[in-house]
């Protein structure tokens, strides 16, 4: 799984740009790193500290988000602050988990931090201090921000006393409300001026120290520093290195040595020795400190969180609440985003019209209208759904409910190899795969993300709906089965059930073959419920939207221009081109050409003296690259029951699935077809015949076509987003390949099977 690594060099350049820019100055800005367990308010603190030049990139070599920004310090000084993904420990199994260690030590392409700020949840002190202790052992300059002191209440220790025991500066903060921020900034400035290396010592059993020293001899030269750091790194290697880990940049010699040492240790459990020694050190260090106790009564005893959980995680009505919440999220993506999306479409439509009216016709005008304006419109139209989905995800995540979703859905999704957290992206896939794929970011492991990403586009998104509507309306009678079940409604439900089942099967198959990873046990923290921090949620929404526009938007724009060229070039003979313009959109409405139905546009020779604009368009489309491609593809599509005209529709649908309807309208010389004017197109489809007089569209062809649409990856925006999220072209290409082959095979089975059965 070296995809991200392969593309890593490209991202590295962008990510470290800010730091480089800083280091180019005469006096480089000091770099601060925010480290901490998940759910300790790291993001809130980052938002409080960050003042300008905020940017989101990826960690070198891995697609894990990295935020960097400039912050102000007392006395007019400035510093850079970067955050590190939440981690309970520095020990690692995957390249994602390795980030924390690499960022802290400034290895690889990571800049070396001048100060590490560890954010600690005052209410869960011991567990949080485990990470602090690991950093202390590495002897990195650090400072502890004792956060959430308000929430911890009496359980919060005195920051100064804690700092004295640990031998590091410790500042009490309340990042969400902004409390203690000035103290923190002062402490940061002081520690930057006069670093205070930590000194606390963990006492390990003698045989473990011997093991560590044996490993230390094998550490690469570049890793070595003080005796303490060497020992800490040896312990890191002993707990992290495994024959099946996915760590990068580990020298073979070190692996070999660790394996030898572990083998010599025999029945001794070195992991347990190391971890227990650390916890014992923490318990001894904290002993007697007010508010601290390792086995203190449970934090949620019968707390608010426990009381909420008793209702929300209840097997019966907890599940009902869960379904209701998911319904709201789903409904918002489907219905609430719709007015905004049609508004955006109308806006770009009128802009398009405006440019057409004011610019002289020609290649440039077409490029601007059909390429740039439509392309930008294609990008911006996703924004309402992306923003809404991330707003909900932010609220669910921040309130603590998202972890409960994973808890509730884990059993069901695990059956097909997906993570409990895959539920929200999968469900969002019913609305649109683009925000859904971005939503996989809530999953920590690359393998889980990738698997979810690969199957989300199989969920029937809202763009397939117009296609289903057209085909079902045109080819299936509005009759009832058993006297009361409507055939058309039943078919629609069947398409959704079908696509969902295929998505789950695909997840099960892909998860056991291509994206198989070492099985990682589910250890899910269920954080206490909190009121979501609205400003930080909104900021996240904005950053996501911006990175979508910047990174996926350019690819979608490029694709749109390619599609426009495909469907409108080469132009037919000049006389036709003057009047007709490019094929994709034209002001002609569906009602104009009744005579076309008889005109059989397929037989128009190039440059023929065509009577109507619709027919001319049809002939222009036929001669375009897209039309020719449709004809080239005809032998491949014939076994599915499709002719070349449907092929052109399928090619056109690659721009966006709903475009299928309007491309079909043009192929049949009906001009542009809106979603609300399907009647003439339905008539035309029913009348369409093969050369031998057989109708082209039988119910069986309709079914085969719907199956094809349900499964084929005909969405360049999805591919663009997958590229952006995986930082490589490999996965979008694979996705296109596997989905399209699956679509072909399933349509083949439906069509040929149906024919064999005599339909």
């Amino acid at each position: 799984m070296s995809v991200a690594r392969a593309a890593g060099e490209v991202t590295d350049a962008a990510d470290t740009e800010l730091e480089r820019r800083a280091s180019d100055r005469s006096e480089p800005l000091p770099l601060l790193l925010l480290v901490g367990n998940p759910n300790v308010g790291k993001t809130s603190l980052f938002n409080r500290l960050a003042r300008r030049n905020e940017r989101v990139g990826n960690y070198p070599g891995v697609t894990v988000e990295r935020r960097t920004a400039e912050m102000a310090l007392p006395g007019g000084r400035r510093a850079l602050v970067a955050d590190v993904p939440g981690a309970y420990s520095l020990s690692a199994r995957s390249s994602e988990e390795q980030i924390a260690l690499q960022a802290v030590l400034g290895w690889g392409d990571n800049p070396r931090p001048d100060l590490v700020v560890v954010v600690v949840d005052a209410g869960q002190l011991v567990r949080n201090l485990y990470l602090v202790l690991q950093l202390i052992e590495l002897r990195v300059p650090l400072l502890v921000a004792l956060n959430m002191v308000d929430e911890a209440g009496e359980r919060a220790p005195d920051a100064e006393a804690l700092g004295q025991r640990l031998g590091v500066t410790c500042v009490a903060t309340n990042a969400r409300a902004g409390g203690g921020l000035e103290d923190l900034q002062r402490a940061i400035a002081a520690r930057l001026e006069r670093p205070l290396p930590p000194k606390l010592h963990v006492s390990y059993p003698a045989e473990l120290i011997r093991d560590a020293d044996a490993v230390a001899d094998a550490l690469p030269r570049a890793w070595r520093g003080s005796v303490e750091r060497d020992r800490a790194l040896s312990l890191w290697a002993l707990t992290s290195l495994d024959p099946d880990d996915e760590l990068v940049g580990i020298p073979a010699e070190l692996r070999q040595r660790c394996a030898e040492v572990l083998e010599r240790a025999g029945s001794r459990d070195t992991d347990r020795e190391i971890i227990e020694s650390r916890y014992r050190c923490l318990e001894l260090t904290l002993a007697g400190l007010a508010g601290v106790g390792a086995n203190a009564p449970a934090r949620h005893g019968v707390s608010v969180t426990e009381r909420i959980d008793r209702a929300l995680l209840h097997p019966a009505y907890g599940f009902a609440v869960f379904l209701a919440i998911m319904l709201v999220v789903f409904q918002s993506l489907f219905a609430w985003a719709d007015p905004l999306m049609s508004g955006i479409e109308d806006l770009f439509g009128s802009l398009h019209g405006l440019v057409v009216n004011y610019l002289p016709g020609g290649f440039l005008r077409d490029l601007i209208t059909f390429g740039v304006i439509d392309g930008v419109g294609n990008v911006v139209v996703f924004l309402p759904q992306i923003c809404l989905l991330f707003l909900f995800i932010g609220l669910l995540e921040d309130s603590g409910y998202m972890a409960r979703v994973a808890y509730l859905m884990d059993r069901a999704l695990r059956a097909v190899g997906l993570h409990g957290r895959a539920f929200v992206p999968m469900m969002s896939g019913f609305a649109c795969a683009v925000p859904a794929i971005m939503a996989t970011r809530t999953m920590e492991r690359r393998r889980d993300r990738l698997l979810t990403m690969l199957v989300v586009p199989l969920m029937s998104c809202s763009a397939r709906l117009p296609v289903y509507t057209l085909l079902i309306g045109a080819l299936f009678p509005p009759s009832h089965v058993f006297g009361f079940v409507p055939v058309q409604g039943l078919l629609m439900v069947a398409m959704y059930v079908f696509s969902t089942s295929i998505a789950l099967i695909a997840a099960a198959v892909l998860g056991r073959t291509l994206v198989r990873g070492p099985s990682v046990p589910l250890i899910l923290e269920l954080p206490p419920y909190r009121w979501p921090g609205v400003p930080s949620v909104l900021k996240m929404v904005w950053l996501r939207a911006r990175s979508f526009l910047r990174e996926a938007g350019t690819v979608i724009l490029g694709f749109t221009i390619v599609m426009w060229v495909l469907l409108s070039y080469p132009k037919p003979a000049p006389d036709a081109a003057l009047v007709a313009g490019p094929a994709v959109t034209s002001p002609v409405t569906a009602s104009s050409p009744p005579e076309v139905a008889a005109g059989a546009p397929a037989v128009n020779p190039p440059g023929a003296d065509v009577a109507s604009e619709g027919a001319r368009e049809a002939s222009a489309l036929e001669q375009s690259f897209g039309g020719r491609l449709g004809k080239v593809l005809e032998p491949a599509l014939a076994p599915l029951g499709f002719d070349w005209k449907i092929g052109v529709g399928i090619i056109g649908a690659f721009a966006a699935r709903e475009v299928f309807v309007s491309v079909l309208g043009m192929v049949y010389g009906l001009g542009e077809i809106g979603d609300d004017q399907l009647a003439p197109l339905r008539e035309r489809m029913r009348a369409e015949t093969h050369a031998n007089g057989r109708p082209v569209y039988t119910p069986l062809v309709g079914l085969s076509l719907m199956v094809f649409f349900a499964l084929a990856c005909q969405c360049m925006s999805t591919l663009a987003v997958v590229r952006r999220e995986t930082q490589s072209w490999r996965w979008p290409v694979f996705m296109f390949g596997y989905m399209t082959s699956l679509a072909w095979v399933m349509s083949f089975i439906v069509y040929q099977g149906g024919r064999a059965l005599g339909f």
Binding site: G123, A294, L524
Partner: protein
């Protein structure tokens, strides 16, 4: 021998041994669930899996198949204390521990629950 998946929700237990795959064992211990730590099973998810537990003031969810690898002992039934735990500052003798669970709910392995766990006999030593 009692494993965590057999514990009736609402019962507090003390961890004896964390077993299972290395990655699971390491992660769980790093979260502070080491031998001697007091753990309470809070509830089981609607499909019977995973289960939710609380330890060191933190709520966690783990799957039943992995909970089966965690050996525990009833919080109040614990008499022998390993030497290394006696040294630990936070270790509280069983008599001094306040049980949060009403005595009536402390029957640990009711027949109904036991029969639902087919892999019981297989659980590693």
């Amino acid at each position: 021998m009692l494993t965590l998946d057999q514990v009736v929700p609402g019962t507090a237990v003390v961890v004896e041994k964390v077993g299972g795959a290395r990655s699971f064992r390491r992660r769980l211990m790093e979260l502070g669930i080491i031998p001697g730590t007091r753990v309470e099973v809070l509830r089981v998810a609607p499909f019977g899996d995973p289960l939710e537990l609380t330890a060191r003031g933190c709520n966690l969810s783990i799957r039943a198949s992995e909970a089966q690898q965690v050996e525990v002992e009833r919080a109040d039934a614990r008499h022998s204390v390993p030497a290394e735990m006696r040294r630990s500052a936070s270790w509280v003798p069983p008599s001094a521990r306040q049980s949060q669970v009403p005595a009536a709910r402390q029957s640990l392995v009711p027949a109904a629950r036991k029969s639902r766990v087919p892999g019981l006999a297989k659980s590693s030593p």
